[in-house]
Symmetry: C2
Subunit: 199 residues, 2 copies
């Protein structure tokens, strides 16, 4: 077992600069949206040099992920789903979400979900992640007939409902249902939202 | 405009007794569940006479509703839904929920939803309301083939997802979609959860 080094002034200075940048980023991302808020603006708001932002965060995506405390890179999780042909993606999405939640990252995901629902700023941040990063990527290959946006928010609504009822409210019997049962009952819903007739 | 009377000692004494009873009720309802927690236990926990509980709350249901701060009596809201034949109830449930939310009670409902997701005790309380009062009543006439419980929690999952994504996260285009569009796209999902094949 390694003995932790005593904290130095420099270390805690760096920590507080990082915290300052994160606070400014959260504020600007939620006020202006992910696209509009620039790294330069965030640096200026935090009162630091733009190079300092790059010292702590490789790019805007990494800064954003740190803001919402995502326990994993959404693109990696989505990669598993995107290789599934669209016709079977409804079930695949449910299976991926359950595997992701019923894993050691569950506490982090619960904290994220709680924060998002209870804080307006966190909700604005997650709306950005959901619309721009997660849903956008997952639906990139949907036919563009003008329904893609609605389909995306319908998928999100059932997934969010599954997360809240199974993991937060723990509504039985859904909360204890085996993965394959949940996939069987919710898969067709998501499949219809993705590719079926909406009426 | 009427001038408010100055607060008297007796008034604030009554207020704090009521608050004490509510705090004990919240604790016992969430620890033991609605059925197991008795008014007598709640009174004892609050250090007041059982008659005092009845002085403030007509019955256990009323005390419970005050605990979770429901902005309306679920049975009254449900009454409109229960007169709809089961075959058309999916759409009716979505329509009732939207009418209820897009009304002056929305801030109270938002506060309830935020509290439920961010606090474990509030979640336990709402689980009780949902399972015992709301879902139980709404599904009373479902065929009893062993799937009623699962059907109920699936209905709850999509409704909760609709509330969180439309009213908390404000995910577009679902957030601004007219009622009838939401009814058209979500009605079939709820109808399948209620009466359709689950696979």
């Amino acid at each position: 077992m390694s003995v932790p080094l005593p904290r130095r002034g420099r270390r805690s200075g760096a920590q507080s600069t990082r915290t300052l940048i994160l606070a400014s980023a959260r504020k600007l991302f939620s006020e202006q949206g992910y696209d509009a808020a620039s790294l330069r603006q965030i640096a200026r708001h935090a009162g630091v040099d733009a190079a300092m932002v790059h010292h702590f965060f490789q790019n805007k995506e990494e800064l954003f992920a740190a803001c919402v405390k995502l326990p994993a890179d959404p693109r990696e999780v989505l990669a598993d789903v995107m290789v599934i042909p669209l016709a079977g993606r409804g079930a695949a999405i449910v299976r991926t979400l359950l595997t992701f939640w019923d894993s050691p990252v569950q506490p982090a995901l619960l904290a994220l979900l709680r924060g998002v629902v209870s804080s307006r700023a966190q909700a604005a941040l997650l709306r950005e992640v959901l619309s721009k990063r997660i849903i956008g990527a997952a639906l990139a290959d949907l036919p563009d007939d003008g329904t893609a946006g609605l389909r995306a928010s319908l998928v999100a609504s059932q997934l969010i409902g599954l997360m809240v009822s199974r993991y937060v409210l723990k509504l039985e019997p859904l909360a204890s249902a085996p993965h394959e049962e949940v996939v069987r009952v919710l898969g067709p819903t998501l499949q219809r939202y993705l590719t079926g007739p909406l009426d």
